[in-house]
């Protein structure tokens, strides 16, 4: 099963390598990892998506908690939460197909952020399913480049 962990860490140098090192060393797989500062500048938040059964997730959380720089680990996959990922996709877009692409972009409520002579860059935000669906549809035009930020997630309500 896929789990999303929110990990609050001290904003210290080396903390990212400590966390990622722990995953590789203990044989856990990271599907995606996104990191940035929180509302408190000395604390960063990592959103880590891991694949694993309950045993693995428990071990991951416990081992993360052992790192002195890790302040809190919460599994937010099982609870009511919002998760988003931002994707930039550069598609082949010669003038003949542009209108088709624009249509798809509108349906997905995505944005066109750059238009070149033969290509366009599309920006899409959404959860994993939405991103995958859009990617599928754009394939026919030829995807030149694709970059995802990795999922960030947050619990709903208070």
């Amino acid at each position: 099963m896929r789990h999303t962990l929110a990990v609050l860490v001290e904003n210290h140098p080396g903390v990212l390598s400590r966390v990622s090192g722990l995953f590789s060393r203990r044989g856990f797989n990271i599907e995606s990892l996104a990191v940035g500062p929180t509302e408190k500048p000395d604390i960063s938040r990592m959103t880590i998506v891991v694949e694993g059964d309950d045993y693995v997730i428990e071990q991951v959380s416990k081992q993360l908690n052992k790192l002195v720089d890790v302040i809190k680990v919460s599994d937010i996959s099982s609870q009511a939460s919002v998760s988003r990922e931002l994707v930039l996709i550069k598609v082949d877009a010669d003038p003949s197909v542009r209108s088709q692409i624009i249509q798809i972009v509108e349906i997905f409520r995505a944005n066109i952020v750059d238009v070149g002579k033969n290509s366009m860059i599309i920006e899409l935000t959404g959860d994993k399913d939405k991103v995958t669906a859009m990617e599928e549809l754009l394939k026919q035009f030829g995807i030149k480049e694709l970059v995802r930020t990795g999922i960030v997630a947050m619990n709903r309500g208070s």
Binding site: V9, P13, G14
Partner: protein, 551 residues
């Protein structure tokens, strides 16, 4: 005051009396500050030995041991010692010099990323960027190393930072958002544990290294006696429960005693105290403890459920938790179980019939002559397990061995650290001829500092433990295990100015050991034993620990 002086002053504030170290270009100012301080410096003959010595010092005192090395190769030489301490949860503080801040990352002379390299096997580490942080970092380092589940902490200090000026202020407290060990067991789980103990017909205590580091030996004894629960120990747990106690069954695991392994395999309740169900204990078998309820008490939440799923998990300081459990239990008797356990008698393995001195006879004689009061360190190999089985340890912090990493070369420098900590104690390193050759240069350290450490070498002219593995797993297809060049260890000792002895026959055991124990000098005893001597019992890979060879 400069950074180097602040670092040394911080060590003084932590009550550090001795530092084991080896100098170099990146720690010149630290050595200047050290010279001006009240701290004693012991110059080892390699940085690895400095780390092991700090660990030996720590194991016998319970306080963090400190080692110091220069940048680059000095720092990498510490690594084996740091990893050894990490695997055995021993608090040491490793201080390394680093190249100047503006040089970091440029592959300059003697630069190595030691915080990156040691991250997997330090409890925490620091690269000091700002001179003002030094007192806080030292304070935190000692706190982290010695509390919760203890472990090594490394502080890497760049040359320029050590030279900068600061106003010294030593903090009184530490503030670490992400580090708050849980010391008290959950009352609900404690009640469940009490009930399980009352209900159990065939309970057993498995006492681990955590009992020693958590100073919980007397609580384990009390629980065992009150509820009549037999006790086994892990390798790291030896000494945590008196070896001469009537409820003691011996070492458990792959090279455990027949009685201990049989008893734990037939128990209906296993109370694991400060033990982590390592693969050396369970044999890596998924059948381990399948029939039993398991109470698992440990300060480290990550150990609970890692190898064996407990029925009753209790995270907390073992001493506190046992005290709470003791409040709930009543006096119990279990005549049937105790009788059954005592019947787990092995038919004994037959000694090979040869002329050679038997390791068992030597170790038992050593026990007798030292009245069981020696501090004994071992290296890694057959001699390690012979020591674990045949020397009866009755006090915590008297048996020093590398259980987790299994580091040959650990025992001799660890014995030096122990002797520094306890000048009056009889400190003995039991070694193999292979292991001794890893760090024998420490004879120089022992001589220089008048440390009368005694080394007993069980000389089988081979890497006995590996030879035994090849005997069982490779059809005696021996390779790379026997030595063709056998040093004269008596002369080696004499070459360093120490005393050398040799035992080749039984009648020499007692007189030589007596002389050695009484000697005020470092001594090396070369004990010639049979090359084919084995460690028994032995559990083969994949077998449950109740099935032993040569039990």
């Amino acid at each position: 005051m400069n950074g180097a002086q602040a670092l040394i002053k911080s060590l003084e504030n932590e009550g550090v009396k001795v530092v084991f170290g080896y100098p170099g270009g990146a720690v010149l100012s630290l050595y200047e500050a050290l010279k001006a301080s009240n701290i004693n410096h012991i110059l080892t003959r390699s940085e690895q030995a400095a780390a092991h010595a700090a660990s030996g010092y720590s194991r016998v005192t319970g306080k963090p041991g400190v080692c110091l090395a220069t940048s680059g190769p000095g720092a990498t030489n510490l690594i084996t010692g740091i990893a050894t301490a990490y695997m055995d949860s021993i608090p040491i503080i490793a201080i390394t010099g680093q190249v100047s801040t503006e040089m970091i990352g440029k592959d300059v002379f003697q630069e190595v990323d030691i915080t990156g390299a040691t991250a997997p096997f330090t409890k925490h580490n620091y690269l000091v960027k700002n001179v003002k942080d030094i007192p806080r970092i030292v304070k935190e380092a000692f706190h982290i190393a010695s509390t919760g589940r203890p472990g090594p902490v490394l502080i890497d200090i760049p040359k320029d930072v050590a030279a900068q000026e600061l106003e010294f202020y030593y903090p009184k407290t530490v503030e670490l958002k992400g580090y708050k060990p849980n010391y008290n067991g959950h009352p609900l789980q404690i009640n469940r544990a009490v009930e399980a103990i009352k209900r159990a017909e065939r309970p057993i205590i498995c006492s681990g290294g955590g009992v020693i580091s958590g100073n919980a030996s007397s609580e384990v004894i009390k629980l065992a006696e009150t509820c009549q629960i037999p006790v086994v120990t892990t390798l790291m747990g030896i000494g945590g429960f008196p070896g001469n106690h009537e409820l003691f069954l011996g070492l458990v695991g792959v090279h455990g005693s027949y009685r201990a392994n049989k008893a734990i395999s037939s128990a209906d309740l296993i109370i694991a105290v400060g033990a982590r169900f390592a693969d050396r204990v369970t044999g890596g078998s998924s059948d381990f403890a399948k029939k039993a309820e398991v109470i698992h008490i440990d300060i480290d939440p990550a150990e609970i459920g890692k190898n064996v799923e407990p029925t009753i998990p209790i995270v907390g300081d073992v001493k506190n938790v046992l005290k709470d459990i003791l409040k709930g239990v009543d006096k119990q008797t279990r005549p049937q179980w105790i009788e059954a356990v005592n019947k787990f008698n092995s038919n004994g393995f037959k000694d090979k019939n040869n002329e050679y001195v038997k390791p068992r006879d030597v170790i038992k004689k050593l026990y007798q002559l030292t009245c069981g009061k020696a501090i004994v360190s071992t290296e890694v190999g057959q001699h390690q397990l012979w020591t674990a089985h045949y020397y009866t340890f009755s006090k915590p912090r008297t048996f020093l061995t590398s259980g987790g990493l299994g580091t040959m070369g650990y025992g001799f420098p660890a014995a030096i650290g122990a002797q520094v900590a306890k000048p009056e104690a009889t400190v003995i390193n039991i070694s193999g001829d292979g292991s001794f050759q890893m760090n024998l240069s420490e004879l120089a350290t022992a001589m220089e500092n008048q440390l009368p450490v005694k080394v007993l070498i069980f000389n089988n002219r081979c890497l006995g433990m590996v030879r035994q593995l090849q005997e069982f797993y490779c059809n005696r297809n021996y390779y790379g295990v026997s030595f063709k060049n056998i040093p004269d260890f008596v002369k080696v000792a004499e070459g360093f100015g120490a005393k050398g002895f040799r035992i080749t026959k039984d009648t020499e055991i007692e007189p030589v050991l007596k002389k050695v124990i009484d000697s005020k000098y470092p001594c090396v005893v070369d004990i010639i034993i049979a090359p084919e001597e084995n460690v028994y019992p032995m559990v083969l890979n994949g077998s449950p620990i109740s099935e032993m060879i040569g039990g």
